[in-house]
Structures are given as structure tokens and as C-alpha cells.
Symmetry: C2
Subunit: 426 residues, 2 copies
């Protein structure tokens, strides 16, 4: 009983902290997610240490449920046809958003002499900069009720593609730099084929079978079958994505939501899962914030090199917005939407601290964490300003990347970029 | 990630098993809770071992949230005035329902020569038989939509009083039989005073302050504040009950619900927490089932003595129904409603296996577990039959305990009582 009640108390701290942060941001007309991230840093291990979000804790599991439900909901609100229509654009955005940050990171690492100018460290840093966290961006669009824009759909599509590319990059980096020091082209092909096949099967088979599943749920007599069935469906496809195809569970959950959204039960699933999502989703963002170790980020060398790398990480993804050139979509919105590295960036940091620790020093790893923190915390601020200021989904052509940099708002963000977050967190 | 996904998979197994059991029972016109308990035994450690519900696991925490939400909801649906009106009757039911089972258990232990006829074992067994699990009974009433009957209110009131008496009994038993071998009258007084004071303060102060809390929640701009606030409120009062007054968290949650139910937000809290409760509540009942170790219950001596003790445990609480004599309430419904020992009985079993293991042998402890299983699984069946068959809340005077024993249904239960559950569980 003791242990259970302590865990429950920790959960309450997280929920209250998330609501305080979210409410503060709402009053400042910022997306709630920023407040949750900042409160996470504050209650996390490196500042107040009120909550423990390590692997295997209750909170880490509830956080995973939260992000799965979030992406399931995003999938629900996405029309499969729009998604296919925008597929080519999304692919361009994803590719530019992988190649540019990798190149910038690789050369910056050498120029800054990180890890004594080692090629391995340069590859690691470049690879870490390719990540995209769709959770953060999707939340900002959801907070501002803009999920039904072409920009949102393109970013989410690009993030899904990015996750598949990310699988390949992770395999190459771990194979190239890890203990075995080798990787096979054949296995890369297998990894990619499995991921693509999984998504195609979920969507194609799902469109046929999923309506029967929800009709079956409606047919059950026990109350609550519908909400529990929807919850189980989202998480089961998420687990299957990871187990069968090596994809992030959220990619599976998104595909599940996409398919469920095509059924006549779309509205009902959404309505019944809403209160559940309200409870779980903030736990994820708070946990992301709580994983930040403020102390490590405050060393001068980390701050300096990390500031430069963070700026390049922002620039590299802004360039990805060019993937929607020639369409009425806002290149700046799409570019900024790709910036946050979030939990995907932290996977690279975990790899650097674990499996690759012989190659990647703690300082270089701290730089990656700083880059993740800066991109994760600043992108929602900028995206919020952009979405409030300008029309999206082709209502009018958007100002360029240059124009964003002109705004006083992004001025502030750039300062954050070079001497970043920890100040916020104290 | 591995660990998190395995935990999520376990959660899905539990949710699906709970729904399968619940749906099967709904088709058999039985309360869903019975199906959840039986499926719990099946997926639990001693049969399929698909789930682990030990202290400290994710599931044990989610189960605690489930039972807290259940009792909060029961509190929401209870009118404070009815509750006060029925207080005296509830106290009679609680007192008879403690004294009779204790007496029966004490003398049966000596007659059956349990623990070599030791007085300590007789006290332990008698004490274990005094427990009441309000969760099970409340779920049956809720499943059948009968929470708004005087019988339900009286049983719940009696269970709350029972929990306070249970605190005293636990303190005496642990003091008398435990390592220190002593207890002080003064500390018994303190325990009782703290528990009563806590409940009075929650209700009296709560009636004044709680409306402001929910008005404040409504005033917040961030979506989901209301459902998260209600959830936090229920659990916070539950934790406080345990920490400040040594009460079961569910007693605190019930008091919190009682107070919240008096506000103008009653309907809204209920509606928003509903899908959340649908998700968490079944986890509790499944976890209760999963704690049953079928193997230990199958030893002949345990089956024989346990059968007798189980019958006496049923009889002892049936007698408690006499506490509502002279009212239009059904004595049989009230008596049967007090029968399940559930998780409260398991607390005694845990005490017997742990702190008191020098006094209580594994065989005697298995008898307690068997008694808990029999009372927990059979009472919902009988209660269901009774509630479907006869009017409650004074719509007409009820048949006597004799009359129940005449029904073919309870015939079945009596057989269960003397050669019980394990057959069901295989």
C-alpha cells in the first residue's frame, strides 16, 4: 500500500504541475504544451526532483500511453485521402529535413573540433539532428485547433516518413559506431521493407476490418466497452508497430487512428477518449521536460557549442519547409513544425550515453541534449506566433523564412537558441 | 522502451480479459464484476500467469486508482442527507456484522482445532472474518443501477463504519499477536478519534469549500482541467485518508465523492469521469481475482476447514441484515451485501503471511484466503438474484434469510460455500 500511495502522490504532482504550466501558458496565449514541458523541467530530477521518470517507472508507462493516445487522436482527425494527396510533399519535407541537418551537424562537429574532430562523433551528431518529434508539433496544432490544415497533415506525414528514415539511420549509426563496427545493406533493406509493409498492411487491411471491430464493440452489452475497446486498439497497434516493424509505437497509433477515423464511429471514439486523453497526454510532455538534466547543460563549453548546434538544428529543419514550395502552404509553418526533436532526439542521447559511450563523450552527448531541449522548447513558441499571425492551408502565400527571422518573437527565440533554456528552468 | 511496452501489453491483456468476463456475465444476466473476478483468477499468477499484480507493479497502482474512482463515483451518487438519515441503521449493521463473524470464527477455529487449538489463531481467524469489501457490493449495485436504494446506502455506510472498526481490530490483532505482544488502550482511542475526525472534517469543511474548488476548475482556460481536477481531488483525499487517519484510501475517496456530489457540478463530474472509470475500475476487480493462488486452496484439509469457515463467514454477515429489522429495507439484501471480504480480507491474509507468520501457519492462512475467495465470488451472484427478484428500498417487506436459503439459486451458492471456487477458476 505504501508504495502504491507514493506512486499515486507522484502522479498527482505531475497532473497538478502540468495543469499549472498549461494554464499559465493559456493566459500568456501560448500553447499549453510549453507550460507542461517547462513544469516538467522544474519538477524533474535535476531541479526539484519531485518526480522520477526513469525507464520502468509508473510515470514512464503512463507517459507512453499519453503520447500513443495523442497520436491516435491526431490520426482520427486526419483524412486518409488528404494524407495520400500530400504524400509527395511530405516526402520532400522529410528528405530535406534529414539531409540538411545531417550535413550541417556533420560539418559543424568537425569545424568545432568536437570529440577531437573525430568522424564518428560528427556522424553521431549529424544523425541526432535528423530526428523529428511529431508529438510536440501535433500538440501545438491541436492546442490551437489547427490540425485540419494541409500544413499539419504535411508535417505529420513527413514525421512518419522521418521515423522510417530514422530507423535506417539508427541502424547505420549503431552498426557503424557500435561494438560490432559493421552493418549490412541487406538488413537496411529488411528494416525499411518491414516498416513500410507494416504501415501499408495496417491501412489497407484496417480500412476493411476496423469498421467491423467498432461495430462489434457497439454490439457489446457491458458499459464502457467502446472506450476500452478504442483504448486497447490504439495501444495494441502501437505495440505491434514496435514489435513487428521496429517503428515507434506512436507511428502505429497514428496509423490506427487514421484508419479508425475513416469509420462512421470517428466522432464517438473521439468523444469517449477525450477525457482519458486529457488525463494521460500531459503526463508525456511533463515527463519529456523532467528528463532534462539542467546541471549538465550549464557548462560553458556545452553552452557555446550547443548553442551553435542548436541554431543549425533549427536552420536545418526550417530549410525542410522548402519541400512545400510551389504550393499554397506556408513554408515557414512547415519548417518550424519540423524543428522539435523531443523524445526522438533523446533516443540518440540515450544511445550516445549507452551503447556508443566508447565513441561519444559526455560533453558531446550534453550538446545533443541541449539541442533537443532548445528545439523542443522554442519551436512551439515560434509555431504559435506564426499560426496566430498568418493564414494557413493556402489561405494566402506565407512570408518566407526571412520574414520569420524578422519578427521580434523569433528574435527572442534566437537568443534562447544561443544561450538557452536553463534560465527558464530555475 | 522494452519494459514499457511489456507493461502496456500486460495492461491490454487485463482490459481485454476484464471485458470478455464482463460480457459473458452480462449475457448470463449476472453482474459484470463476477466475470472480471473470474477472469482475474484465470490470467493471474496461479493459472495462466499472464499478469503480475504484486505490490509495486504498474497494475497494482492502476487497480488502486480504479477502486478509488469507483468509491468516488459511489459517493457522488449518494445523497449526504440519506446517508445521515440511515446512519444509525448502518451502525447496527456494521456492529452485528463485526461481532457475529468474529464470534463464529473464534469458536469454529477452536472446534476445528486450527493451529492446534491456539487462542491466537482463533483471534486471527475471527478478526479476518469481520472484514467487509464495499467495492464488490457497490459494483453489483452499480451494475444493476440500484445505487440509489436505501439498502445500498446502508451497506455502504456500514462498510465505512466497518473500516473504522477494522482499524481498531487490526491494531489489536497486530499488537496482541505481533512481535511486541502488547497494545495500549490509549492508542486505540487515538486511532478511532483520528479516523472519525478526518471524516467529519472532510465532510463539514468539504461542503463549504469544495464548491469553490470546482468553480475554480470551471474557470480555467485549459481544456481538460475539469476532469483532471476531479481525478486529482478523488485521489488526493484518498491518500490523505490513509496518511492522516490510517483509513483505507477508498473511504477517503467515498467521502470526497459524497461532498462533491452535493455541489451543482455533480452531473458534470460524473459525466467526465465516466470513461476514465470504465478504463480503471475493471483493473481493480481483475487484480483481486489475480491475487488468488488456486494451488494453495486445493489441499483437502484447507478445502474442508475453509468450506466450514466460509459458510460461517456468509452466515455471520447475513445476520447483520437484522440491523435493518423494523424498516422497509430488505434484510436479506443488506446481509448479502455485507458478505464479500475482497481486498480487505486479503489485508488480513497478508498480515498472516507476513508480520504474524510466527503465530499463523500457512494452512490457516490459506483458509482465510479461501474464505475471502468464496465470499467475494458468491455474494455478487446471490445479490444479483435477490435484486432482480424482489423490490428494494421499502417497496415491500422482503423475504427472510430463510427465504433466500430456499431459492435454488442460493442452494447453488451453499454448495459453493462448502466445496468452493477452485473449480470455477480452472
Amino acid at each position: 500500500m505504501e508504495g502504491v500511495l507514493e506512486r499515486l502522490a507522484e502522479l498527482l504532482v505531475i497532473l497538478v504541475a502540468a495543469k499549472v504550466g498549461a494554464e499559465a501558458m493559456a493566459r500568456l496565449r501560448q500553447p499549453a504544451v510549453i507550460g507542461e514541458l517547462i513544469m516538467g523541467v522544474i519538477v524533474g530530477g535535476s531541479v526539484l526532483a519531485w518526480v522520477n521518470v526513469d525507464e520502468g517507472t509508473l510515470i514512464s508507462t503512463l507517459a507512453e500511453i499519453g503520447v500513443i493516445l495523442l497520436l491516435f487522436e491526431v490520426g482520427l482527425e486526419t483524412d486518409l485521402r488528404d494524407f495520400v494527396r500530400l504524400g509527395k510533399r511530405a516526402a520532400s519535407v522529410a528528405l530535406i529535413g534529414v539531409v540538411t541537418p545531417f550535413g550541417l551537424g556533420f560539418f559543424a562537429a568537425r569545424a568545432l573540433d568536437l570529440g577531437g574532430g573525430s568522424t564518428e562523433v560528427a556522424i553521431f551528431l549529424g544523425a541526432a539532428m535528423t530526428a523529428t518529434s511529431v508529438g510536440i508539433t501535433a500538440r501545438v496544432f491541436a492546442d490551437l485547433r489547427r490540425l485540419d490544415t494541409d500544413e499539419a497533415r504535411t508535417i505529420i506525414g513527413a514525421a512518419v516518413i522521418d521515423d522510417i528514415i530514422g530507423l535506417i539511420i539508427l541502424a547505420v549509426v549503431a552498426g557503424l559506431l557500435g561494438n560490432d563496427g559493421a552493418f549490412e545493406i541487406a538488413s537496411l533493406f529488411t528494416i525499411t521493407a518491414k516498416a513500410l509493409a507494416f504501415l501499408v498492411v495496417v491501412v489497407v487491411v484496417g480500412v476493411v476490418l476496423v469498421p467491423y471491430f467498432f461495430r462489434f464493440l457497439r454490439f457489446l452489452r457491458v458499459e464502457g466497452s467502446f472506450v476500452v475497446g478504442s483504448f486497447v486498439f490504439a495501444i495494441a497497434v502501437g505495440i505491434a508497430a514496435e514489435r513487428l516493424a521496429g517503428l515507434e509505437p506512436i507511428v502505429g497509433a497514428f496509423a490506427a487512428g487514421l484508419v479508425a477515423g475513416q469509420t462512421e464511429f470517428n466522432e464517438r471514439i473521439h468523444a469517449e477518449l477525450r477525457p482519458v486523453a486529457f488525463l494521460f497526454v500531459p503526463i508525456f510532455f511533463l515527463a519529456i521536460g523532467a528528463q532534462v538534466d539542467v546541471g549538465v547543460l550549464l557548462e560553458p563549453r556545452v553552452l557555446l557549442a550547443g548553442g551553435v548546434i542548436s541554431l543549425l538544428a533549427v536552420a536545418g529543419k526550417l530549410v525542410a519547409g522548402l519541400g512545400v514550395s510551389g504550393t499554397p502552404m506556408s513554408r515557414s509553418v512547415v519548417g518550424v513544425g519540423m524543428i522539435p526533436r523531443g523524445e526522438v532526439g533523446l533516443i540518440f542521447a540515450a544511445l550516445g550515453a549507452g551503447q556508443l559511450s566508447a565513441v561519444v563523450g559526455s560533453e558531446e552527448n550534453a550538446i545533443v541534449v541541449l539541442m533537443v531541449v532548445v528545439t523542443t522548447l522554442t519551436a512551439p513558441l515560434v509555431l504559435n506566433a506564426l499560426l496566430r499571425r498568418e493564414p494557413v492551408t493556402g489561405e494566402a502565400p506565407s512570408p518566407e523564412v526571412d520574414a520569420i527571422l524578422d519578427t521580434p518573437f523569433l528574435g527572442g527565440v534566437e537568443v534562447d537558441g544561443s544561450s538557452p533554456e536553463p534560465g527558464d528552468a530555475d
